[in-house]
């Protein structure tokens, strides 16, 4: 019964979404203008029904209701309860229900937090978002219904969740990522509403900035979580593979990062108006493209849960309609936008422009590297990898250029910067960067080649970034300014970026990786650490049996015990490698167990990875910066000011 109720709820939410799309966008016509006041109510209704549907699906998992096909395919009575709940979005149908729920959640947030917007504009924004959700809900109901029953042949037990996904990281990763993806629909809806309404001043940029920052912050955390998961769960010791699925989340992030910056320029200075609009459309379009790549089954990797052409065609058609429609609207309307302001080469405006160019070029590189192999496979049916060399060739210089710009970012002013000021404020960053750079060169240049030089440059520039930002903050404090949360957000995010840059450079260049054949009792030396293989014993888990290795790492006079596992899951018979990691701020020790070899020996992978944590830590700090910026007083002031007339209107 509850399953049918869930099914019914998503249909109701679908109907409500249609009603909102018609009312919201149609509120400019005389016919519908009078009825648009019900929109906030419908938004709540849509959220309640998608939430109810989601709750009921969770319930079906909790109750081991294997009469539901989706539950039978993705759960098992032996699965630990936390993973049963996580399994709700462990497959295609459930994860799309989560997507729809998150969309409904963003609409609710926008509806509650936009009292200060002009009524018509607000209605249009809700209408555009509802229109997107009509598409998502139709996709859910017609091609990917999670409430499909398995009657009359109800299986006795479920097939179990893919063991790769039975993990904390993978339970939190999709919601974060989706909040980010779907969050770009807010900036998109504001941009479209601006184009429809002809309100092409910079107001829409101001209104959509906090929303964009928030979506960007979530996406950043989501991507970092995915990378972290790949690192400890896949057993290869890598943290980024330029896999199409990773690229699918990275492309909206690149566009989103460009958007966050150009929105700032548009709001503060009124420059790049049409460009910012375009970026808002592109960021969301890339989220849709990501959904297409991951959800259509065009890929066969751990992420491709389903292979079903019907789904791919649906999303592709939706993508063409949304993106084609938006770009057409852009072509028809955007020419009316004119920026009359000017700026010089050394100005913040110009730096944001250069930042945007770098991000858009990076985006093009990833887009080509992702679509070309797919296209090649589509044409010939064969697989081809462009791989790491291609991406590194472009990304290393692009990110170094970006870091170089970032050193100067806090120094340059809007419109123009005096050369004297530039020289004076860059002196210290140059000195510290030079000193640290020399130290890095002494450590790293034992091998003199391009990757090593790039790593030295990365450390040098990151030091420059941190110094110039700290100096700027210090100066502000000395002069008695209380820095705004917006400023602190930027400060934090930039420091986070510098940290990630250092992490990537050092983790790649300094990591020591050994794949060995070890017998129990054997010892190996690595980076001044002794690693002893004690033996392997059998361990019983809740839904698996494991061979657990026992290693003792002797480091700086203390012993660290590491127990990597090789698990066999009972339901599917899947073999999984569970690496053991001793995590540290400056280095990770990573051991994973390979295959047993002759005479009781095992293939063992021992990695020592300096600074690898900095990659994710930097990303989290970047996201934190995004979060700080949202709390800036300016946005709160807008709300309180707007709340008064709204309250008065209510009283009348």
């Amino acid at each position: 019964m509850s399953v049918e109720l869930g099914h019914f709820s998503i249909i109701l939410a679908f109907v409500l979404a249609i009603a909102m799309a018609v009312l919201g966008i149609g509120s400019r016509t005389r016919l519908l203008a009078g009825s648009a006041y019900v929109l906030p109510l419908l938004v709540v209704g849509q959220f309640v029904f998608t939430g109810l549907a989601f709750g009921l699906l969770v319930l079906a998992f909790a109750e081991d209701n294997f009469s539901v096909r989706y539950v039978a395919q993705h759960s098992n009575s032996l699965l630990p309860t936390a993973y049963k709940l996580g399994a709700t979005w462990g497959g295609h149908e459930g994860s799309f229900l989560l997507w729809v729920l998150i969309m409904a959640g963003w609409m609710l947030a926008v509806s509650w937090r936009s009292a200060h917007l002009p009524t018509l504009f607000r209605h249009t924004v809700i209408g555009v978002m509802a229109l997107m959700n009509v598409g998502f809900l139709a996709f859910l109901i017609f091609t990917s219904n999670p409430f499909q029953r398995n009657v009359p042949f109800v299986p006795a037990d479920g097939a179990d969740l893919n063991p790769l996904l039975q993990d904390f990281g993978l339970i939190v990763h999709p919601p974060m990522l989706y909040i980010g993806y779907v969050g770009f629909s807010v900036a998109f809806a504001f941009a479209i509403a601006a184009l429809i309404s002809g309100r092409l001043d910079t107001a829409w940029a101001r209104w959509s900035r906090p929303w964009t920052n928030m979506a960007w912050a979530f996406l950043t955390v989501g991507i970092a979580l995915g990378s972290w998961w790949a690192y400890y769960e896949l057993g290869w010791g890598g943290w980024w593979f330029w896999d199409p699925v990773e690229n699918a989340s990275f492309m909206p992030w690149l566009a989103g990062t460009a958007l966050v910056h150009s929105l700032a320029a548009t709001e503060k200075r009124g420059v790049f108006k049409s460009w910012t609009l375009l970026l808002a459309i592109v960021a969301f379009s890339l989220s849709l493209l990501g959904a297409f790549i991951v959800r259509s089954g065009v890929l066969t990797s751990v992420h491709a849960f389903a292979v079903d052409p019907e789904r791919g065609v649906f999303i592709l058609a939706f993508l063409v309609l949304v993106v084609g429609g938006s770009f057409t609207l852009y072509g028809v309307r955007a020419w009316q936008l004119k920026s009359r302001t000017t700026f010089t080469w050394f100005s913040r405006d110009s730096f944001i422009l250069q930042n945007n160019i770098i991000f858009v070029v990076s985006l093009a590189v990833v887009l080509l590297g992702t679509l070309l192999p797919l296209g090649y496979e589509g044409v010939t049916g064969d697989k081809l990898s462009v791989g790491k060399p291609y991406f590194n060739l472009f990304f290393v210089p692009l990110m170094l250029m970006l870091s170089a710009l970032l050193v100067m970012a806090p120094v340059v002013n809007w419109k123009r910067t005096e050369a004297d000021r530039l020289r004076e404020r860059l002196r210290w960053p140059c000195i510290t960067a030079g000193v640290v750079g020399v130290a890095a060169a002494i450590t790293l240049l034992d091998r003199f080649d391009v990757p090593r030089i790039a790593a030295v440059l990365a450390v040098l520039l990151a030091t420059g970034v941190v110094t110039s930002h700290l100096l700027d903050l210090g100066q502000k404090l000395r002069q008695g300014h209380r820095p705004s949360l917006g400023y602190l957000g930027m400060f934090t995010a930039h420091i986070g970026f510098a940290m990630s840059v250092v992490g990537v450079a050092l983790a790649v260049e300094l990591s020591s990786e050994k794949d060995l054949a070890m017998r129990p009792g054997a010892e190996v030396e690595q980076y001044g650490r002794t690693i002893r293989f004690v033996g392997v014993e059998e361990v019983q888990g809740p839904n698996y049996v494991a061979q657990a290795g026992h290693f003792i790492v002797h480091e700086n006079g203390r012993d660290i015990v590491l127990r990597p596992e090789k698990r066999r899951y009972m339901a599917g018979g899947n073999l999984m490698t569970e690496a053991a990691i001793d995590a540290g701020f400056f280095r990770d020790i990573y051991i994973s167990l390979g295959e047993p070899i002759e005479e009781g020996g095992w293939a063992v992978r021992v990695h020592i990875k300096p600074f690898v944590r900095w990659i994710w830590l930097g990303a989290v700090i970047m996201a934190l910066g995004g979060g700080l910026a949202i709390l800036d007083r300016r946005y709160r002031r807008i709300r309180t000011r707007a709340a008064i007339p709204a309250g008065m209107a209510g009283a009348l």
């Binding site: 072509g331 090649y376 044409v379 064969d382 697989k383 081809l384 791989g387 060399p389």
Partner: protein, 185 residues
């Protein structure tokens, strides 16, 4: 700016979609034969994977039909192909020479130790210069060579049972017959 220039994003998007649609419908006919087919394997000089200081040239490829396979550890498809290459070597007695493309020699050696080594020997192409000569798009790619060192067939993507049976086995058969006739008479 010109009013029409604001339609550029739409145009770019249409072109991508158009190319995609046309491309997917063309199927196999769209693949151009490599200009290298029928020509001798380009001359080169490259170090061996197992002996850094030993440079070899194209003459090592002469004298018997063989398969030259371009691979790398960063390439997931190569991993998938790897097992079939071992089958080829065992079952068909085909000699396979590897070119380690844009990769770290130590990583490549580890990979061979870990997954097995179907190659007679491997050459290093760290900077991809040989790859350029061979018109390599990505990895894996494979070249079937006759005893005179001419490229008989080029394969972009993985070599699998289907490609072997349809494209490569008949060509190899023909080469072996020709060789037998040449030595027999």
């Amino acid at each position: 700016m010109n009013r029409m220039s604001f339609f550029v994003p739409l145009a770019i998007f249409m072109v991508i979609i158009g190319v995609g649609l046309v491309g997917f419908q063309l199927g196999d006919r769209a693949v151009l034969p490599s200009p290298l087919v029928g020509k001798p394997f380009p001359s080169f000089s490259a170090p061996r994977l197992d002996q850094d200081d030993v440079l070899v040239d194209q003459s090592v490829l002469l004298g018997r039909p063989l398969l030259v396979n371009v691979w790398a550890t960063w390439c997931p498809t190569c991993k998938a192909e790897h097992e079939f290459l071992e089958t080829l070597k065992e079952r068909e007695g085909l000699e396979i020479v590897g070119i380690v493309y844009k990769d770290d020699p130590a990583a490549a050696q580890r990979w061979l130790d870990l997954y097995g080594d179907p190659y007679s020997f491997n050459l290093q192409d760290r900077d991809g210069r040989l790859g350029v000569e061979l018109g390599v798009y990505g990895a894996p790619e494979s070249f079937l060579l006759d005893a005179a060192g001419n490229i008989v067939y080029k394969r972009v993507g993985d070599v699998n049972e289907r490609v072997w049976a349809e494209e490569m086995a008949p060509r190899l058969e023909k080469m072996r017959l020709a060789q037998m006739e040449a030595t027999g008479s």
